[in-house]
């Protein structure tokens, strides 16, 4: 009894810990800031230094232009200074125009608050998978009394492998040295996950929504009615003579054995 109780307790705690880890892991992003205080501070300083640098650069170019205007340099150097100033003006203008274009383009490609479709798809992909899984579990709960769990569990191995595959791709990406993993890994992962999902859902839907499943219930009911007539109503109501009762019962036993053999 102690061993059984211990096993039950271990399983209970295992389940609780597994669910807790899953939920915490899914929400763990909330516990960490995007940037630490130190990063924010240094970034602020860097931006300030960069602004200062750019201002000094413009000032430098203006001073060069003034020196050029004073005409105190040798001709060749004066010419170079003039060219440099002109090129700098052109480059600055171009940079401003391109920056403006970039901002407009980025805004145009935004999907809700996400910078682009890639980020949006990244954010929404896994929650959709979790949502579908949730709906599936609720459906299984609603149909729990009519489900042959042994048969339906054949779908679980494929779905389990699909989840393992998807999770492995993400975990490898998270722990890999580079920010992006080769597109080939994504495609291979997608292919395998799709294959397993197809097998799993095929078995699941075939069982849950198959006409055979509903028809089977109907035929079971019909057989129960027939057996009731044969084994219950006929003998109870005395439709069989007493001297024929032995033969009748033996014949019924034969039917029982034959039916049992058929359903094997």
């Amino acid at each position: 009894m102690d061993t059984i109780q211990t096993k039950i307790t271990i399983r209970k705690y295992f389940l609780i810990i597994a669910v807790a880890i899953g939920v915490v892991a899914a929400m763990s992003q909330l516990f960490f800031d995007v940037n630490s205080e130190a990063v924010i501070e240094v970034r602020k300083e860097q931006r300030s230094a960069r602004k200062d640098r750019d201002a000094k650069r413009v000032m430098g170019m203006n001073i060069l232009n003034d020196i050029h205007a004073m005409n105190v340099l040798p001709d060749s150097l004066n010419k170079k200074v003039a060219e440099l100033f002109s090129e700098h003006q052109i480059a600055e203008k171009k940079s401003e125009i391109l920056y403006s274009e970039l901002v407009n383009l980025k805004n145009a490609q935004k999907i809700r608050n996400f910078p682009n479709y890639n980020s949006f798809a990244d954010a929404i992909g896994n929650p959709i998978l979790i949502l579908i899984t949730g709906i599936l579990f609720i459906l299984l709960y609603i149909l729990r009394n009519s489900i042959d769990w042994k048969k339906i569990s054949k779908a679980f191995i494929h779905l389990g492998l699909m989840y393992l595959f998807v999770a492995s791709v993400y975990l490898i990406w998270a722990f890999s040295n580079s920010l992006e993993i080769h597109r080939a890994y994504y495609i291979v992962g997608l292919i395998f996950a799709s294959i397993f999902a197809a097998f799993g859902l095929n078995k699941l839907t075939r069982y849950l929504f198959n006409v055979d499943f509903l028809e089977k219930e109907k035929y079971k009911k019909i057989i129960r009615l027939l057996f009731r007539q044969l084994l219950f109503t006929i003998p109870k109501k005395g439709y069989v003579k007493e001297d024929k009762m032995i033969e009748f019962t033996d014949s019924n036993n034969e039917v029982i054995n034959k039916v049992a053999k058929e359903i094997d």
Binding site: K220, R224, F227, L231, M245, A260, K261, I263
Partner: protein, 73 residues
């Protein structure tokens, strides 16, 4: 009811092909029928034994014709 039939009856019940009360009634009837069979069997054996005794008491050397069959005591 044989063991095999008992087992098959349980199988039908587990597969929801018969109801519990139907199984019970059939088992009760089968039990009654078994009792009847045993009684009949005893009676048959008794009569057989009695017939054999009677036959053995008949004088020897007699030929008895029963239809196409001839029996000698």
């Amino acid at each position: 009811m044989s063991d095999e039939t008992h087992k098959n009856l349980d199988k039908l019940l587990n597969d929801e092909l018969i109801d519990k009360d139907v199984k019970k009634v059939h088992q009760d009837i089968s039990a009654k029928v078994e009792k009847q069979k045993r009684k009949l069997s005893q009676e048959i054996n008794k009569r057989k034994s009695s017939n054999n005794d009677e036959f053995n008491e008949l004088p020897k050397g007699l030929i008895i014709q029963l239809g196409n069959f001839e029996v000698q005591t």
